[in-house]
């Protein structure tokens, strides 16, 4: 069973569209994250939620809106997609956030054309 699962794995869309990426974890963790990995493999945090409460909101365009319906799910909605949004988006979870390892999903490769 996949611990942190994201859907879809690949997402190809045109500029201006709105898309969502879903994430679910079955580890019983209370903290979930979204990270963005660029073409040079650099990983940068976007958001984190603890028990459905937003903890981290990095300098991310407000076209990106995370939603956590419960502590096992953290979805990412992106409005008005731009070419620069093309990247691999990783969902992750951890138990607590003070020095706990993150468990990552396998990523969603978003390509905006």
């Amino acid at each position: 069973d996949t611990a942190v699962s994201q859907t879809p794995k690949y997402l190809v869309t045109q500029m201006g569209n709105d898309k969502s990426i879903k994430c679910e974890q079955n580890l019983g963790h209370d903290t979930m994250y979204w990270y963005k990995q660029d073409s040079k493999k650099f990983l940068k945090i976007m958001f984190s939620y603890n028990n459905k409460e937003l903890i981290i909101n990095e300098t991310v365009p407000n076209r990106f809106s995370p939603k956590s319906p419960d502590k096992a799910h953290l979805n990412l909605h992106i409005n008005s997609l731009e070419l620069g949004d093309s990247a691999v988006y990783f969902c992750a979870s951890s138990q607590g956030w003070i020095g706990a390892p993150l468990h990552f999903g396998n990523g969603t490769r978003l390509t905006v054309t």
């Binding site: 940068k44 981290i56 990783f90 951890s94 020095g99 999903g105 990523g107």
Partner: protein, 115 residues
Amino acid sequence: GESVGLHLPTLSVQEGDNSIINCAYSNSASDYFIWYKQESGKGPQFIIDIRSNMDKRQGQRVTVLLNKTVKHLSLQIAATQPGDSAVYFCAEKGAGSGNTGKLIFGQGTTLQVKP
């Protein structure tokens, strides 16, 4: 600002040899460090972590060394195997992140294992 860097973007080793992957960090107040392995098409996978009150920690075939004096972190892999080929990231819990759990990742070192 804070940064986490790795000394070499690519490391090539012979199967069976030991590998050492290095990482330098800038924030002396960081208190938690992690190494991740990322295989092609997959998400980063936790390898080992270390807190700042330690200078060495061992796992199965892996050892992490922390030198706070020079702000240097290294990952040693014993008897490197073809399955170890991947991109390796170090990450630190950033200063001021307090209870936010924000991890700052380095750029990554690609480990290539030659048969």
